[in-house]
Amino acid sequence: MLAYRAGKPILARQFLADAERTGAALGAGGHVLNACADRYRFAVGLAAALATGKVSLLPSTRTPEVIAHLKRFAPDAVCLTDEDDCGVELPRVRFPETPAAGSSGEPALSARMPLIEARQRTAWVFTSGSTGAPVPHEKTFGNLLDCMRVEAERLGLAPGVSHAIVATVPPQHMYGFEASVLLPLASGNALTAERPFYPADICAVLAALPRPRVLVTTPIHLRALMASSLAIPDVDLVVSATAPLSGQLASEVEQRGRTRLLEIYGTTETGSIAVRRTTETAEWRLWPEVTLEPRAGGTWAHGGHVEQPARMCDVIEVLGSGRFLLHGRLADLVNIAGKRSSLGYLNHQLNSIPGVLDGAFFHCDAAGGDAAVTRVGACVVAPGLDAAAITAELRRRIDPVFLPRPLLLVASLPRTSTGKLPQEALRSLAAAQPRPANAV
């Protein structure tokens, strides 16, 4: 079993036949932005690109600004899409649907398993740099597979047993790319085409699959699932990433779901590098060949499948023997629902808007309950522009999760005498602004 759609199995030979047909449709260029929303089609597109020597492009967002950069980065890129209203401004390749089954009802057996070299460049993933252009990070086939072999073992996925893996995260996001696409393909488990969103969807997709089942998700979806009064179908393992889960929510998930919950830690640059069972310990356990090293300016990961030494986005306490603790994010980093940016990048985009004289984003105070999403706000000096015009411009440039709430128009920013702009001063300025009369 390679995959499931609507609870029905899709066999490996079907996958190979679909990949061969899709590969032929991709044309001669060397890069594919794989925008397929259906996870099976995404996996087919990935395999098709690999087999024809093309590199998949996985940007974290598809705003016009990012696509324009991508075009400069890879002028031959096409967009593989399975949606009618794909808004990406690149030459479009429509995902070729599986032809209706013929009289035999069997897919062609002619498709062959391609051999991929370990050093083949498989994907470029992107992080937002601190100034304008997204920063590319190379992912090679061998390193991706090595990482997934460790992941399967660390998640306790018994070899020889096919787990049906359901994910609420998109296949284009590094966590979803690994845990919901590469992991099943690399470890003999099955991926699921659907991407359930609402709690009722998650329950329905799980219930349609044979056990053992795995749910790959995030604190946001788990919080919604726990807050719903739904009966959760049996699930053998829950995997969470993108933000640390509180011990309380982790316990609730394990108790109500009668399951085991493991958290994965990683970044776009490094992929997954550590795991922990949150109800048992706060300590993360690193992949055996990966090392974390405290250096000036932060903690760096290197070794094993990590392609390039990478600075981690969190304050990390290295405990030795492959264990560590997280103590919150670095001050400049913004992570909302697994989408990562930096205050530097957001400020750069804000200040690039014609008419904006000065502007700065700030982290809003954490409010709300357990695992509630904390947004960013912004103070802007822009006489002649209103908030709606600024928001519309920002929408073209940055992912919507980073749109400022609130966006406050001010006469000047609270800079210190040395020109610094403390986050606390921005928050105080925002708090002092008049609020709408009936806002709660």
């Binding site: 659907e194 359930p196 969103f197 609402y198 709690p199 009722a200 969807d201 329905a204 946001i220 979806h221 919604a224 807050a227 719903s228 009064s229 739904l230 909302i336 629902a337 409010a367 709300g368 999403v373 928001t391 519309a392 929408r395 919507p400 999760v401 749109l403 709430r405 609130p406 609020r435 709408p436 009369a437 009936n438 806002a439 709660v440």
Partner: protein, 101 residues
């Protein structure tokens, strides 16, 4: 199941829908901590994109509120899903047609 407004199990007149629209606006503003006053959210305001500018995290939050308050479980595979969030009035009509409390 038919989702036509004509097949409401608990039919509410247009006055009922209007009241529910106002109630939902208040719930959404409170749940999402929005800056905009609830009274400023008209029945035809789009919830996604250019209207209220909500994203999928917000929609999940609204789904929670709607399930707690009205016992309505939203489903993304329902054909109505896109229509439901097209405007506040559509959401109100859907909730009105499917509410269990």
């Amino acid at each position: 199941m038919s989702d036509n407004v004509s097949s409401l199990r608990q039919p509410a007149g247009s006055a009922g829908i209007t009241a529910l629209t106002r109630e939902l606006a208040g719930l959404i503003v409170a749940a999402l901590n929005l800056e905009v006053p609830a009274a400023d959210i008209g029945p035809d305001t789009a919830l996604y994109g250019e209207g209220l500018g909500l994203d999928s995290i917000d929609i999940l939050e609204i789904a929670l509120v709607v399930s707690k308050q009205y016992g309505v479980q939203l489903r993304a595979d329902s054909e109505d899903n896109e229509r439901i969030f097209a405007s506040l009035r559509h959401l109100a009509e859907y909730v009105n047609a499917h509410r269990t409390k």
